[in-house]
């Protein structure tokens, strides 16, 4: 009897030791990552929500809690609605829609199709060119845009327009067509994302499928229509959603190239938040409330992306259960 009790006791001890090791291991390996993720993703979301109900401003002091910020954004209650907001939202829709449809999906697809139809070396060259904007630091990219389109005589655009086309005076694209400027500027960068993903998808199509189509009588355009495009449906959906999310929240390049102007012509939602919070007025709480309206769609779209990626197939069951 005593022997059994003793053995049970040691077994229980061994089990507790193993449990201890399990917890230690988890803390050691996962701990730091959890802290970082908590600090930079979970906590900010919580902070944002909390702050949005305060009056945190330039003085960095909280004196009261209220729904004033939301009232101001959505236009209810006794706070005066922010009159600029509807315009900002309209511009955001125009910007996101324009860039997404023209560049980030369509032109990216065209780039993938055309560069893969060329011999290997040339295709790689053109893809590398279209990756230059994405690879450049944002400040440098903005410098290049500014120099190319500013309103002086010496910008690239004006040298071409005045030199080759004989215009009388310089044009300032940032004044004339600011929305197109930011669409193109962000579009050049966005197109490369689709280009990379779709190129890899096209390369994944078995070669014999192309051979069979050619023997069946298909020309290049028919091959694109009947062989390539059907295989690109999933990648395109993925790109569409990812880029919508990315564009909705982008503001770095707009800030650097047009600053949101002229006269708020290119002030999209994300810039609006930035200006409200980090300009002289420092309306952090209001900015937080506005940001909330980006956080929610952001999380939703990210979850949809996850769904599409079909996560379950990527997990492999662990085979060592000893701790």
């Amino acid at each position: 009897m005593a022997a059994i009790a003793e053995r049970l006791g040691t077994d229980r001890e061994a089990y507790r030791a193993s449990q201890m090791r399990r917890r230690l291991n988890m803390a050691f390996f996962l701990g730091p990552a959890i802290v970082v993720v908590g600090l930079f993703f979970v906590l900010p979301v919580v902070v944002d929500v909390v702050i949005s109900f305060t009056d945190l401003g330039r003085d960095l002091r909280i004196t009261e809690f209220s729904t004033d910020n939301y009232e101001r954004a959505l236009g209810f209650g006794d706070t005066r609605q922010d009159k600029q907001l509807p315009g900002v939202i309209a511009r955001t829709v125009m910007y996101v829609g324009g860039t997404l449809l023209i560049f980030n999906t369509t032109f990216g697809l065209i780039l993938a199709l055309t560069t893969t139809a060329l011999p290997r070396g040339s295709g790689t060259f053109f893809r590398a060119v279209w990756l230059l904007p994405r690879m450049s630091p944002s400040v440098v990219y903005a410098i290049l845009w500014t120099w190319s389109i500013h309103g002086g005589d010496t910008s690239l655009v004006n040298q071409v327009v005045m030199g080759a086309f004989g215009a009388n005076g310089p044009i300032d694209l940032r004044q004339l067509h600011p929305m197109w400027v930011i669409i193109f500027a962000n579009g050049f960068i966005g197109a490369s994302f689709a280009m990379i993903i779709l190129t890899s998808a096209i390369r994944g199509i078995p070669e014999h499928l192309f051979f069979a189509a050619r023997c069946d009588g298909a020309g290049s355009l028919s091959i694109v229509r009947h062989i390539v495009l059907p295989q690109l449906r999933w990648p395109l959906t993925y790109i569409f959603i990812w880029q919508t999310l990315s564009l909705m929240t982008s503001f770095e390049y707009i800030l650097l190239i047009t600053g949101g102007g002229p006269f708020r012509a290119t002030t999209v939602f994300a810039i609006f938040i930035f200006q409200r919070a980090f300009s002289a007025s420092g309306q952090y709480a209001y900015g937080a409330a506005l940001a909330f309206f980006l956080i929610v769609p952001g999380v939703i779209l990210a979850l949809i992306l996850w769904r599409i990626s079909n996560m379950n197939t990527l997990m492999q069951q662990p085979r060592i259960e000893v701790q």
Partner: protein, 369 residues
Amino acid sequence: MVAEATAVLNQPTQQAHWDRLAAKARFRRSARLTFLYSFLIVTSLPIIVPYFWLVTLAFSARVSTVDTSVLWPSIFVLVPAVMLTLAWSMLARSRRQALIGAAIVWAVAVLILAVIVGPNLNLNNFRFLYNAAFGAENTNIVAAKDRPGFSTTAFPWVWTAFANSLIIAGGATVIVIVVASLAAYYISRFQYPFRQSSLAAMLVLHAFPITVLLIPIFLIIWKLGLLNTLFGVILVIVGIELPLAVFIMKGFFDAVPWEIEMSALSDGATRRQAFFKVVLPQVVNGMIAVSVFVFIRGWEEFVFVLVLSTKQAKWTMSLYTFYILEDSTMGVDYGLLSAVALFYIIPSFVLYAFAQKYLMQMTVGGVKG
């Protein structure tokens, strides 16, 4: 049917029929290539020209206005050279002929360029690299007006900014590698609750645009007392890049065979010892790939650096370039600015080219990428 029809015809007519088809094939091929090259060249010009201009500006004489004395002549020589080379390679009968033709075209082009453009080239603009007082005559930093407490002294030494960028990028890289490898190993190898959702969480976090959280992160960093420090920026970059790093590292850990670990364990090692001695060396490629990504991000980061410094405390290359651009007196020295921009941009390109090699070998989350 075609077959029967041609059988009835005599041989010369048959051959003529096939020759017509061969001619059609040649025509189709030329038309396709011409269209593709023209389209891509035309649409790529708006990207190629400004970057090329940046290079020519950096190496040419300093003038008070932006200078295109090198740009347009270069373009007028280079573009025909490229077109000639392309056309020649399409028409040439053999590889050797194509190469000889290309060599001739380019030799002539370089000669012409040397004559027309050569005298304008110099390294004057790069004096910011060795002459700290280059900005001495320009003490007006315009953007400073908007920044409370911003100093208005002469422009800082570029190497300070360079060093700071290096510290930020390098520091973030080291921390990310350590944290991501530990976490990815655990997710890949251990059983624990919520394991399934960990990987999903990483992907969702990576897709989530962190700039939306600019305000709360600013407040958190402020509360932690890390505003105006390099470490604050380092931490933020770690936060930004960690999810993707974990995702990538997990893929590499998945590819390490279980047998290696099992034999280490049966040799008496604890799981932790097995990790350090046996598994980690296998995923070095993954660590290199992740290092490159994080370093690039740290090197290029602008928004968070801008937001997290309320005083002119720490310069980075991104801020440095930005303020030279904003400066109304020095900002018009396009040559200088180009040289700075070039100096800033080249490490990025080098790193991207380096990363390309490792991208090829990457497996994404357990499934071959």
